[in-house]
Symmetry: C2
Subunit: 156 residues, 2 copies
């Protein structure tokens, strides 16, 4: 059995540290784009090997914070890791807790909010090649607020 290629040097274990940090993983700002409204969110890139075709990131929203309300063509696959909160998914508001799975399909408005007085942390898996998010215009926001539960969510 002849090995076609050996890549052992990059075999690695990145131990978890307390507080949802990992050895050798940089804590990054959530966005570079100042035009996208968000509050108290950090980002850590956990896996981004080119051969995977996708990336796994850990986002954490501090208590009272929220991710950007946005939509895009690419799909998000989310697993909650820490805390409780809510997410907007299309025109519904859902409560989320650790290890819940959330699929955000193409062109679906979504936002995560740490509404329970504690940090909300989650994994988000995405295709490595993806489009830029769109932000809602005033008409879209008005439509979303047409549902009382969504209006209450966005006002929190």
């Amino acid at each position: 059995m002849t090995p076609p290629m050996q890549d052992h040097d990059s075999a690695e274990l990145r131990p978890y540290q307390n507080g949802f940090r990992w050895d050798g993983v940089e804590l990054r700002p959530y966005k570079q784009d100042d035009a996208a409204p968000y509050k108290a969110v950090s980002r850590q890139e956990l896996f981004a090997h080119p051969a995977l075709g996708c990336q796994l990131r850990y986002f954490e929203v501090a208590a009272g914070g929220y991710s950007t309300l946005e939509r895009h063509e690419h799909v998000h696959a989310v697993m909650i890791l820490r805390g409780r909160g809510q997410c907007l998914l299309a025109d519904r508001v859902r409560d989320v807790k650790p290890f819940d799975l959330v699929t955000v399909p193409a062109w679906t408005w979504h936002q995560f909010r740490a509404t329970a007085g504690e940090a909300l942390g989650f994994l988000c898996m995405v295709n490595a090649e993806r489009d830029r998010p769109q932000l809602p215009d005033e008409q879209t926001l008005a439509e979303l607020r047409g549902r009382p539960e969504v209006a209450a969510f966005l006002a929190r």
Copy 2:
């Protein structure tokens, strides 16, 4: 802002249940291939949307069990979710605990073992298109056992 496509109907939340099960996620056998030795492992496919380009699975090894010792071209990106145990990664044995990250590069021998008297559960992210694993031949096993820590790991 005209939506290019709406896919809201597939927006979904899959709530986590106790015992590392999820609503609507089937508990599957680990392998169809009887030739690949393993013990007490289950598999759940958490995300497999075609647009993601990759899949996220949850594997659980019962206390005393182990995954197949194998290697392949495709890369594994692993996050431990439950319990403690050990993994073989190339020619090293590493202790693992919840939220540790493990990268298994191309053609790297690897195996997970629930060596701590409890179940060991982990997420594994892979490219949706991937090659079949190779199993070690006798010479490879002899070489791996040449390191005492690996011999002890494989004998557990």
